[in-house]
Symmetry: C2
Subunit: 129 residues, 2 copies
């Protein structure tokens, strides 16, 4: 079962890396919570599309993946070059590296909850320099 969920999660990350995020219904429920806030899958897709628009070379690299029951925890590394505003910060033309630590809850194989922390301190330090 863990193997199935891990495989499903890896497919989800592949999909994000394809940058085709206008229909994530294979991976995400119609309604979910993101950091405690209710949102629709459409909201979630739009958020990801916004990140991809700001960072054309955005790529999710799985660094640590821990799967148990309906829970997935992932440390995702990013090395990318923002071209638009990202997390409220203007791009400075430089490449930046940072991590996200994210917990997902799946229900029937699809995401219903996301709890994400992004290393904003690292991003701020690199975009400010």
């Amino acid at each position: 079962l863990n193997t199935d969920l891990e495989a499903q999660y890896r497919l989800y990350i592949e999909r994000l890396n394809s940058h085709v995020v206008d229909d994530l219904s294979d991976f995400v429920h119609d309604a979910l919570t993101y950091n405690g806030q209710a949102m629709t899958r459409r909201d979630y897709q739009d958020m990801l599309a916004g990140d991809i628009a700001a960072i054309p070379d955005l790529r999710f690299e799985i660094d640590r993946l821990v799967v148990q029951h309906d829970h997935v925890a992932c440390r995702i590394n990013f090395s990318c070059t923002p071209e638009g505003e990202f997390m409220g910060l203007a791009p400075n033309g430089k490449s930046i590296s940072f991590s996200e630590h994210v917990f997902y809850r799946f229900r029937d194989g699809r995401i219903c909850e996301v709890l994400s922390l992004i290393d904003q301190t690292a991003i701020r330090a690199q975009l400010a320099s």
Copy 2:
């Protein structure tokens, strides 16, 4: 096996909540890496003792726990009142709430690697107000 590691991790968190952190040899190897930086168990204990000194009511509340093979991922919630400098910020007498998302690697039942992200944005917002 997962059950064993989960139980071991819960004992570790109980120990931290006892605030007796001068000997974590049951839980932590002599040498470990913390966010990629090599440190000794003594360094790690001193870091925790420093946090407890700054925050006398520090309490680790497990919010999400995901265990697989030698890996533990935990979302830890904190509600506490800093009385000393914490993460470079002066206390303001108020209670603050924030989360940590942390990935551990265990070897032979003891921690050898910690990758931690703390919601510094939330802390900064609450200690600045």
